[in-house]
Amino acid sequence: MREKRLLTKHMYENPLDSHTIKSYINNGGYEALRLVLKESSPEKVLDEVKDSNIRGRGGAGFPTGTKWGFLAKEEPRYLVINADESEPGTFKDRILLERDPHQIIEGMIITSYASNISKAFIYIRGEYAKSARRVQAAVQETYQEGFLGENILGTGFSLEIVVHLGAGAYICGEETALLNSLEGKRGEPRLKPPFFPAAMGLYNKPTLVNNVETISAIPWILQNSGKAYSKLGVEGSAGTRIFSLSGHVNKPGNYEIEMGCTFREFMEDLGGGVLKGKKVKAFIPGGASAPWFTGGQLDVKMTIDDVAAAGSMLGSGAVIIMDEDTSMLRAAKSIVSFFAHESCGQCTPCREGTTWMELILERIESGRGRASDIELLLDISDNISPGLEWPPKMTTICPLGPSAVSPIVSLMEHFREEVELLIPRKISL
């Protein structure tokens, strides 16, 4: 199988200057915007996006057209682009931000036009400094070109874009936590209801929050029609998607493909197969929050619904391959530790439970584990995500808690003996 480049087309064809407006325009950029402003209407744009069947590329996979339709009528309204990519294993937004920022900007302008928005923000994580520089330079170029600011192309539509930097908090990738962070507060998720961003978002006004990759697809959709987009990929997972492949493979990296192939095909054809020809012990299909698949599930299709049915999630589109020599406990501990450090601390189960699990795993790793620890880990997990079901139930405010539970459940489900081997047995004489 091969890549299908829609969003990554321009950057690969013009590696030297894909991030400049000159190159972008020379290669057809901002044509979609012109078309929309001159010949279309907000309603028509919304219809195209609905027709495309595109689902959010951030991790939740919510149908974008539906999301746009939910936006309340009250003014002022805001658009916020979520560029706080922090899910371990994911680096697909980074390539879009660094190599083709104008695609994102064009998507933002079209989106704002369609939803009667005149102020937009792009929230970039602080560690992506280079990306932020590229985006800011691009925004400036766009202002100069006249596609941003007052009365764009003489249509009366105006838009301001502000580039805002995050400061090192994974939880700010959660949309309501992001809005809190953008308001100058602690990045703590809000209660939903009532704080659905479409009704009560930034400054309690209606806000659209979209992922970088989602918004990058908008120009193509408007230029080539939503229907054309929906024909790509498969039912329930329309279009192309950039997957970030990492771990024990020969060719880690970002690959844009039409959805529908299997993980095996993806890993072998594009990822060059497992490093040193080893076997796959386990792999994570959708970023650190996703439950693990074992080598036996490589033939699951890479679509949102297939992966969900198989007991995990496509999530942020990050595939992490772990070979037969990987210590599963260490991998699990790394993920649990991540969530313990990134927990915002608001609610009891996540704040206390994730740290507790981290401490237990550390103890097991250092040889001081106890026989009761495995059940204890599972019970703590049950107190965070009752029933250990999939999709998970939660006793917490946001899904970060249940995400921390995924590796524990996967670890105990598939690799329990490995853990038990680390726990010293009592020797009776």
């Binding site: 680096f91 520089r133 930097l165 090192g168 990296g253 260490r330």
Partner: protein
Amino acid sequence: MSWKKTLITEAKKLIDMYPEKRSALGPLLYLALREEGYISNEAMSEISTLIGITEAQVQSVATFYSMYKQEPVGRYLISICKSVSCEISGSSVVNKELMEATNLNHLESDEDGIFTIEQVECIGACGGAPAIQVNYETIENIKEGKVSELCNWLKTEQPKVINSDEIQNKFGGITSFDWGIHDNSGTTGPYPGFQGYKTTGERL
């Protein structure tokens, strides 16, 4: 020390960019970080006056985020990723080497004020694992031995601007994706180099 007039003017410009003053809290904290290398109590007092919230509220936000350093840091902040992709690709070996090369532990700074090291979570360079950042400029796929080289180079050269292309060339391996054109922009200290907060510099 209270903020100079020019700094306050810069701060007010940032505040004007947002519909509500408080949104500028993040950017103003970056200004404070730029001026003093960490978020001092005086800086938090100044910011609280500019924005109109209490110092306790500024402190509450500043301490929530890991990039707003609460203690003075060295000129070069070396952050090594410890998340799962890097962990299974050997980041612990690199970490050990970093700790030995600098003789420091997590979030410690050396006496000369040159290095601070920290272990951080995923920096989005998983395709080039293991990865580190120097002042938030990324080096992907840094192999054994290269870390000590990096530390030596930083110590002797003391570059004014850290540029990711330069350090990737010198000390890195494969990248997560093709970085495309090299550019000379970088950062001037232990904070992200961003034009909006005047923390960028050009490598000569």
